[in-house]
């Protein structure tokens, strides 16, 4: 037990996590490129046309995985924030910060592709229904978090303020997910349901899951690269960073 705890906490120190992140990043870049490559090929050439929406539905292969990632990354960031607040670990706030731009990008992509999909199918670019509005609030939470952390000069205060914002905002995630169930919305219900039933053709489903895995790999790779930069910037005064940079300078 004692041993396991020590091993686990070993990587919560920026100095030991820095090289680990450097080793993980290329693996996930390769995975991301391969998976998204296969996923895009399947999206355009393998998945069959839809009986009602024709080829227009193919935007789902970007739209749904991006929406999933935007919600999931937020939960991960809130989780890191809780850990940071409770255990006072330095790395958790850095991880939350490293994930934020990727999450914001996915929230934006979700709204953007949704708009492109909504115009031909529903007949409108935008409506203020519960699903779409709560996803927009998620994008604002990401942007607000980045702005708040960036606006406070004292790193420890910035981390704490950001962590509290993320934890307060986490109530929005279940609202996004269940909005189509709780209220009448223009947005249709979930295709992939919690109870494991799907109302989608097998090939379409596989394509969507491959794209989702590709987005996962991309998110991890981007976060690893970003967290390395953040670690270097924040630990500038530390001996190990000076030794590392000293090699190159």
């Amino acid at each position: 037990m004692q041993n396991r705890l020590i091993n686990w906490f070993k990587f919560s120190s920026p100095a030991t996590f820095y090289p680990l992140a450097g080793r993980l990043a290329p693996i996930f870049w390769v995975l991301a490129i391969v998976l998204i490559g296969i996923g895009l090929y399947m999206s355009f050439f393998v998945a069959p046309v839809d009986y009602k929406q024709g080829d227009g539905y193919r935007i789902i292969f970007i739209h749904v995985p991006a929406s999933w990632m935007s919600m999931f990354i937020y939960i991960v960031m809130a989780g890191w924030s809780a850990i940071g607040l409770i255990f006072n670990t330095r790395l958790s706030a850095m991880m939350a910060q490293a994930l934020a731009p990727t999450g914001a990008m996915f929230a934006f992509v979700s709204l953007w592709t949704g708009s492109f999909w909504g115009k031909p199918m529903w007949g409108t670019w935008w409506v203020w229904d519960a699903r779409i509005t709560s996803e927009l609030i998620l994008l604002f939470l990401y942007l607000g978090y980045m702005a708040l952390v960036g606006a406070i000069d004292d790193r420890r205060r910035a981390d704490r303020a950001g962590a509290i914002l993320l934890l307060v905002g986490v109530v929005n995630v279940p609202i996004i997910y269940f909005s189509v169930k709780w209220w009448n919305t223009l947005h249709q219900g979930a295709t992939i349901k919690m109870n494991g039933q799907t109302s989608m053709d097998e090939t379409m489903l596989q394509t969507m899951l491959i794209m989702a895995l590709g987005f996962w790999a991309y998110s991890i790779a981007a976060a690893m690269v970003r967290v390395r930069a953040i670690i270097l910037e924040r630990e500038m005064g530390a001996t190990w960073v000076r030794e590392l940079i000293g090699d190159r300078a």
Binding site: W122, G123, W128, L167, Q188
Partner: protein
């Protein structure tokens, strides 16, 4: 009790209170967060009478009538309990069809006709190739015929 246990309790309690507050607010907002009213809700008088609101449901099969010479379309929106006749002048989205979900924005007039100034198509969460859809439809039809023959 260690300091970090105190912080753990604080964070957990904070989240619990926040969750409770949110669920109370959402509960209170219930009706206002709905994007549209169903024909049954309209028939029960839940929709505002002198106000613009949205009506959502299925376009009843065989109910679409297009006027000659202009873009006026008349159809009936149903939720399989109540029906509301709708009149609309303008261009309909591509997915608009009989038996398809629709959301119309407008007002009820004195004759109980919903005069829409915007019509949006609502689609469901099912995605399948056309062959599968055709096979399912044929299967449904065969099933209906056997039950009808059984009676």
């Amino acid at each position: 009790m260690k300091a970090r246990h105190k912080r753990l309790i604080l964070v957990a309690a904070g989240l619990a209170i926040l969750g409770l507050a949110t669920s109370l607010v959402l509960n209170a907002l219930e009706g206002n967060l709905s994007y549209f009213f169903s024909p049954t809700e309209v028939a029960e008088g839940k929709a505002p009478a002198d106000h613009v609101f949205r009506l959502g449901g299925m376009v009843e099969k065989g109910s679409v009538q297009r006027a000659e010479g202009d873009l006026t379309v008349r159809f009936v929106v149903t939720d399989f309990h109540k029906k509301i006749p709708v009149a609309y002048q303008g261009i309909l989205p591509d997915l608009f069809a009989e038996g398809q979900g629709v959301i119309a924005q407008g007002k009820l007039n004195a004759d109980g006709v919903f005069v829409a100034d915007e019509v949006l198509a609502k689609h469901d969460e099912n995605y399948m190739p056309p062959e599968v859809a055709a096979a399912m439809k044929a299967g449904e039809k065969a099933r209906m015929e056997t039950t009808a023959a059984g009676n």
